[in-house]
């Protein structure tokens, strides 16, 4: 099975790859917020330039990133379509009941640019962070939620186990499908309902297998002294280094400039 390239880890040795996942997490959140801060074209140009520099630093090929965008092209066209045709304002084109307004085009472009920047910005995080680091980053970065009794460690552990078992279950699904086909099962023809029904001989064994594996795994974890997150150490604990502090500095600078730009361009 193939996954889309949107957000799938791209292995490279770059400054961005080496950043602490928590930094990247904060970066992404701040960046997304910043996109909604400014409204003028200058703000978008600035945000775009900033992203371009980061992408360059990350050594992820632009082509690879653009290929990832393909997956959301439908969403892009869809929002653009509604903005262009359903906005009110100064009419620039009219044909029958179809009217296109200046404001419509403006909103459509703004939305599209924002969406593209948003998607590229956030996929850059997953492109440059291994799933493991991401899980670690989330666990540690969201650690403050423990105060509110959010089981942060457990969620992190669950994510990491899910990551490990996805390829195994995908493979298992393939195997069961072949075995049922050998018994004459037909997964391909017929209407939607027939197809859905044909999935039962695949889904039930898959669920059973998933439970069996989960049970085995729980035992294996216990056998290896797992007793919750208390008192656990880490082979590679997350630690902020100089690079990370510099990155935070850059982020602050970016945010400040963005706010300045917003105030300046507003008047």
């Amino acid at each position: 099975m193939r996954y889309t390239t949107l957000g799938q880890y791209y292995d490279a040795d770059s400054v961005i790859h080496r950043l602490d996942p928590r930094v990247k997490l904060v970066f992404t959140i701040v960046y997304i917020v910043s996109l909604y801060l400014g409204n003028s074209p200058f703000c978008y140009i600035f945000a775009g330039l900033f992203l371009a520099v980061v992408i360059r630093l990350s050594k992820v090929p632009v082509r690879y990133m653009l290929r990832g965008l393909k997956a959301v092209i439908f969403l892009l066209l869809f929002t653009a379509f509604f903005n262009i045709f359903l906005s009110q304002g100064d009419v620039v084109f009219q044909w029958g009941f179809i009217t296109i307004t200046r404001q419509g085009i403006e909103t459509a472009v703004r939305m599209a640019v924002r969406l593209v920047l948003l998607i590229m910005g956030s996929s850059l995080m997953t492109l440059t962070t291994t799933p493991n680091d991401l899980t670690d980053g989330l666990e540690k970065g969201l650690g403050f939620l423990k105060v509110f009794h959010v089981p942060v460690h457990e969620i992190g552990m669950m994510m990491s186990i899910a990551l490990r078992f996805i390829p195994i279950l995908v493979e298992e699904a393939g195997r069961i499908m072949m075995a049922q086909k050998a018994r004459g099962a037909d997964f391909d023809s017929g209407g939607l309902i027939k197809k859905a029904k044909a999935m039962i001989p695949l889904l039930i064994p898959l669920f059973v297998a998933a439970f069996r594996r989960a049970n085995d795994l729980a035992q294996a974890m216990e056998a290896r002294c797992y007793h919750g997150g208390n008192g656990r150490t880490k082979l590679h604990p997350l630690k902020y280094r100089r690079l990370d502090f510099i990155a935070y500095g850059v982020l602050l600078l970016y945010l400040a400039l963005m706010i300045v730009l917003k105030i300046v361009t507003k008047s």
Binding site: R175, M178, A179, K181, A185, D186, P205
Partner: protein
């Protein structure tokens, strides 16, 4: 009925550079009534080959002929091939899904479009073939023991009444008695019903004792297709492929090296016993 593979090759990812062949230029014919063993180390292409045999995989080169007809030609009902050439996957118990054993075994016949009475008739016959009697019909397949699940799953393929039955390591994970019982049932099926058997196995002892023809795969190629007796004479070559010969073969070679005048092409304990007694002049 016969199934013929003609210069069959299969490449999984033809797009990549230097694509690796999983099966490389294999030709062979399987017939109803014979009992063949198929050995080869993990990754030698056995699993791919058996999936080509029953049409689950389409070879990238070469043809598969069922009684002379190309099965991948347009219009050929592949279901016919799957009915006539049954395939039992490794750990087949993981494919069970119905509420009762009987219903599960009926799944195959049902897919063949048979009427309900005939489905059940076939299912019951298949279950009795693998040693599961009427007590099991209404049991949930998930409540059976490991060995019983295995049998029920095999019955699920048997109920399609194939002329050739391919089993991919049917005894994996069973205890010694369970292994012997299952193999004995497979042999009975071969002898009484004339079903052709292809037994994929890691056990040299098992293929030596049960098969009359032995196929050996190495690096995607079929390197031997002969009687087990002849194949195991090449035990040195087999070892280079990560395989071996039954222990008794090694015993005979060791005895020969010590100057005892014994034949080395024995396959079973019984044969080895007779040969040693003969050489020692006891019988």
């Amino acid at each position: 009925m016969q199934l013929e593979l003609k210069s069959v090759s299969l490449v999984y990812d033809p797009d990549v550079q230097n694509p690796k062949k999983a099966v490389d230029d294999i030709s062979l014919t399987l017939r109803k009534g014979e009992f063949a063993g198929l050995i080869g180390h993990t990754g030698s292409g056995k699993s791919t080959l058996v999936q080509i045999m029953n049409g689950l995989l389409k070879p990238t080169e070469g043809t598969v002929l069922l009684d002379g007809q190309d099965v991948h030609e347009k219009g050929f009902p592949l279901r016919n091939l799957r009915r006539q050439v049954g395939l039992v996957f490794q750990y087949p118990e993981y494919q069970l899904f119905e509420e009762t054993v009987l219903k599960d075994v009926c799944f195959g016949p049902k897919n063949l479009g048979l009427p309900k009475e005939e489905q059940e008739e076939r299912a019951k016959k298949a279950l009795s073939r693998v040693g599961l009697d009427a007590r099991y019909y209404d049991a949930s397949p998930f409540e059976l023991s490991g060995g019983e699940k295995r049998r029920a799953a095999i019955a699920g393929v048997l109920a399609m009444e194939p002329d050739i039955l391919i089993l991919d390591e049917p005894t994996a994970g069973l205890d010694p008695q369970g292994r012997n019982d299952l193999l004995a049932e497979i042999r009975k099926l071969n002898e009484e019903e004339g079903t052709g058997i292809v037994l994929v196995s890691h056990s040299m002892e098992d293929v030596a004792a049960y098969a009359s023809r032995l196929l050996v795969m190495n690096h995607a190629r079929l390197v031997y297709d002969d009687t087990p007796r002849h194949v195991f004479e090449h035990y040195k070559e087999l070892e280079a492929m990560g395989l071996s010969a039954p222990q008794v073969v090694y015993v005979m070679h060791a005895l020969e090296a010590r100057g005892l005048d014994v034949r080395t092409d024995v396959l079973t304990i019984e044969e080895a016993k007779r040969e040693i007694l003969r050489a020692l002049g006891r019988k």
